[in-house]
Each structure stands twice: as C-alpha cells, then as structure tokens.
C-alpha cells in the first residue's frame, strides 16, 4: 500500500501531498472566516444568495425533517432550513473548520436561530453520523475543497435516509465560451485584487479561483455521484453554468 503522503493532489493549480491538502484548505478558511460573508456578497454581487435560495426551493424540505448542511461554513443554508423544518425538525451545521463554525454559530444566534440547530465539527469524507439519519444533505461550495471527493459522496450516501436526497451546489463550467473567458478574467485578475482590498488576503482568493477551475465539470460530477450509488441524478446550470446544482436520491 502506498503512503498517502507520497500521493499528490491538486491544491488549486499546485500539486501537494494528499495528507497536506486538508491543512492547507484549513489555512485558507481560517484566514477568511471573519470576512467570509462580506466577500461572498462582494465577489458574486450578491447572487450567491439566489443560488442558495434556488437550492432550498429544490430541496423538498418540510417541517419536521432532519437536514445536514455539510461544509456549511457560516450557515447561510442552515438558517433557511432551520426556519423551514420548524421546532419538530433538526438541522446539523457541520464543517471541518472550527473558525468558520464559530462565525456561523454567532451569526445564527444573533438572528434568533436557536433550538433546532446543532453544530458539529466534521470531515465530509468520514461523517460521524449513523446510517440513514438525514432526509436532506446539502454541500454548497464545499465539495471542491474536499480532498477525496468520491469518498465524501459515499459517506454522505451512507448517512442519507432511503428516499432522501443530496444537493451539491458548486462552481462549474460556464456553457458559453464568451462567458467562460469573461469569467476567467474576473476570477484571476479581479478576484484576488478584491480579496486583497476587502479581506487583506489575495492568496486565499487566488486559491479560490484555481480550485474552481480544477473542480469536475457538470457531467463528470454527475458521473461521480452515480458511481457513489445515487439515483436519478440530474443537474441544473445556474447563471450560465458558472454554478451548477446537482441532485441525487438514495433509494
């Protein structure tokens, strides 16, 4: 067997040892945690809110359900799920990074979201939950940061209830070449500059741009979900494919 440290994996455009990526990703999110929400609004012109709302509307969430928001960061999706599942349901906000979880916890408490949210530090590749626990799992802008994506997809399938669904919201491949090159210019020239100005951290946003480019495109991700065992896998392009929402069911 190979030592996992001698295998390499993408960290943005760089190749790093597999065992190293997790720590490097942690550095990125440690350094942006406090400014994360502001940057999201600035960088996407607020559109990330609509992508997230679209995801919620496709989730089929009902009062009383159990929802897992993995790589949930500062909890945008968790907040909306919490209002919808009501006092009889539960939302678990899980993230590998404690700094992000803390920011999320403070934000949600200030907004009066208490009672039906649980905060868990967890790695998407090895979820610390029992089999068949959740009606819905979402991973928004998180999968591309995960070292072993296939393993994460399988782990999520395991904790999903039969009849439950997984929603993956992630940057993807723009459909139109024109859009694609405008977007490239934006992410490699404008984004890191904005990161420097607003968050004082150009490098993390350089990583962001690179990790987006290295992430599997729509069809590839769909294939990975099917390989993991999801059924009726479909995807919808949002904003011309800059972002895609993948959906799959466990039966």
């Amino acid at each position: 067997m190979k030592d996992s440290n001698s295998e390499t994996i993408d960290f943005g455009y760089k190749k790093v040892a597999k065992g190293e990526k997790q720590g490097l990703v942690a550095n990125v999110f440690n350094s942006v945690a406090k400014k994360y929400d502001v940057m999201n609004d600035v960088m996407s012109f607020g559109i990330h809110r609509l992508w997230k709302r679209y995801t919620i509307d496709c989730s089929g969430v009902r009062s009383g359900m159990k929802v897992l928001d993995i790589a949930g960061g500062t909890g945008d999706l968790t907040e909306q799920f919490s209002r919808r599942v009501g006092p009889t349901g539960e939302v678990v906000l899980a993230d590998i990074n404690n700094a992000m979880l803390e920011v999320g916890r403070d934000k949600l408490r200030n907004r009066g979201i208490v009672g039906n949210v649980r905060y868990v530090q967890a790695n998407a590749e090895e979820l610390p939950f029992a089999d068949n626990s959740f009606d819905i799992i979402t991973i928004a802008f998180g999968l591309r940061n995960v070292t072993e994506k296939q393993k994460a997809l399988e782990s999520m399938l395991r904790v999903l209830k039969p009849g439950g669904r997984l929603l993956v919201l992630e940057f993807s491949k723009p459909v139109l070449p024109v859009l694609s090159s405008a977007y490239d210019f934006y992410s490699f020239n404008v984004l890191p500059q904005m990161g420097r100005m607003v968050a004082g951290d150009a490098e993390s946003y350089q990583y962001l741009a690179e990790s987006i480019r290295m992430h599997p495109d729509q069809e590839t991700l769909k294939g990975m979900m099917e390989t993991a065992g999801y059924e009726q896998v479909t995807f919808t392009n949002l904003t011309g494919g800059i972002v895609a929402l993948h959906r799959g069911f466990k039966f």
Binding site: I47, L50, R53, Y54, D57, C58, G60, R62, G86, P87
Partner: protein, 202 residues
C-alpha cells in the same frame, strides 16, 4: 434562474414585512404552519407555490414538490374566489380547477385580507411620536384637500355638461322628460286598449 428566484424573493420579503406589522399575523400563520398552496394562473404559466412556516410566508416559482391545495385558474377569476358561493359555478364553467382542500386557499388569502395595520402607531415607533403626528396630520390634510378637489372637479364637469354644452340634461329637465314619457306610455296603452275593443266589436 435570476428571474425565477429574484422576483419571488422580493415579493416574499415585502409580504413578510407587511405581515410583521400586524401582531395577529403570528397566530394566523401558526394555524397554517407547514401548509402549502399552489396557484397556477393561465396568464403566467409558471405555478407559484406558497408555504406557511410559523413565522413567514414563503413564495417560490421553483418548488415542484407536492402541495395541500392546487388552484388552477385565470387572473381575472381570482377576485370572484373571495365569495365561496361562486366556487361551484366557476368550476362548472371550467374557469376554475381545485385539487385538494379548497378551504386552505381561503385561509391563505385571509392572511392578507385580515391584515389590520395601525399605520400611525407603526410610524411613531419608527420616527417618534411628534414627527409621526406631524406626518399623520399632513396626510389627513392632503386627503381632505384631495377630496375637495375631486368634488370641485365633479361640480365643474356637471356645469360644463349640463349648463354650458347642454350635452346632458339637468335634474329638472330629466324629471320633466320622465313625466312626459310616462304620459306618452299611458296614452299608447289607452289607444291600444281602444283598438282591441273595436276589433272585438266588429
């Protein structure tokens, strides 16, 4: 995607702001909690789904999950639905189709119809008592002024039509005309009667 999510989110935000202004909304929402209504209007094509949570009303054009009540109709028919006596007639006339619980649709519309917002109170909470009093008085003054203007205009219109242009009859003229018509009708009736009598006599 922008156009399927943005308009409904905007309306939803506005709607919930309004609901929050009436403290009774909370208990009305709680009664509906978890209930879902879908409205498909012929003109719009896209079905609009409303979901009640214990604190908010949610709107979506994207949601395609099952609902408790689905109303399929046209925009023009909506006002008629306020009176439940119309429902059977509208269904028979093919102007309305309801799947599920029809009472639910009315419960949703009551959320809005029963809204009772104390605007002066809301204002004084936001800008303070004195400025609010000032705004309310200014509002009442402008309402009075508007009503006065409207009356003046109607008077002016009457004058022009009746006195100056003689396009329409005045009140007296109209009464006289009506009397004349009635007298004429009476004479016609009498002549008709006499004619029949004569025909019989022949």
């Amino acid at each position: 995607m922008l156009w399927t999510v943005l308009p409904t989110s905007a309306i939803e935000a506005l709607l919930n702001q309004l609901l929050a202004l009436d403290s009774a909304s909370r208990s009305r929402l709680q009664k509906l909690q978890g209930k879902r209504l879908r409205v498909t209007l012929g003109e719009l094509g896209k079905p609009l789904t409303l979901t009640a949570t214990d604190q908010q009303l949610l709107l979506s054009w994207v949601d395609q999950e099952p609902v408790d009540c689905h109303i399929i109709t046209r925009l023009a028919v909506l006002p008629e639905l306020r009176d439940s006596a119309n429902i059977t007639r509208l269904i028979k006339a093919d102007a309305l189709d309801i799947e599920g619980d029809p009472m639910l649709a009315q419960a949703f519309s009551k959320l809005i119809a029963d809204l009772d917002i104390d605007w002066p109170e809301q204002l004084s909470q936001r800008i303070g008592d004195v400025p609010a009093q000032f705004v309310v008085q200014a509002w009442q003054r402008s309402q009075r002024w508007l009503n006065q203007r409207r009356e003046d205009q109607q008077q002016w219109l009457r004058d022009v039509l009746i006195e100056e242009q003689r396009l329409a009859p005045g009140q007296h003229e109209f009464a006289e005309f009506t009397e004349n018509v009635q007298a004429l009708r009476a004479r016609v009736d009498r002549i008709e009667f006499e004619l029949k009598e004569r025909q019989r006599g022949q």
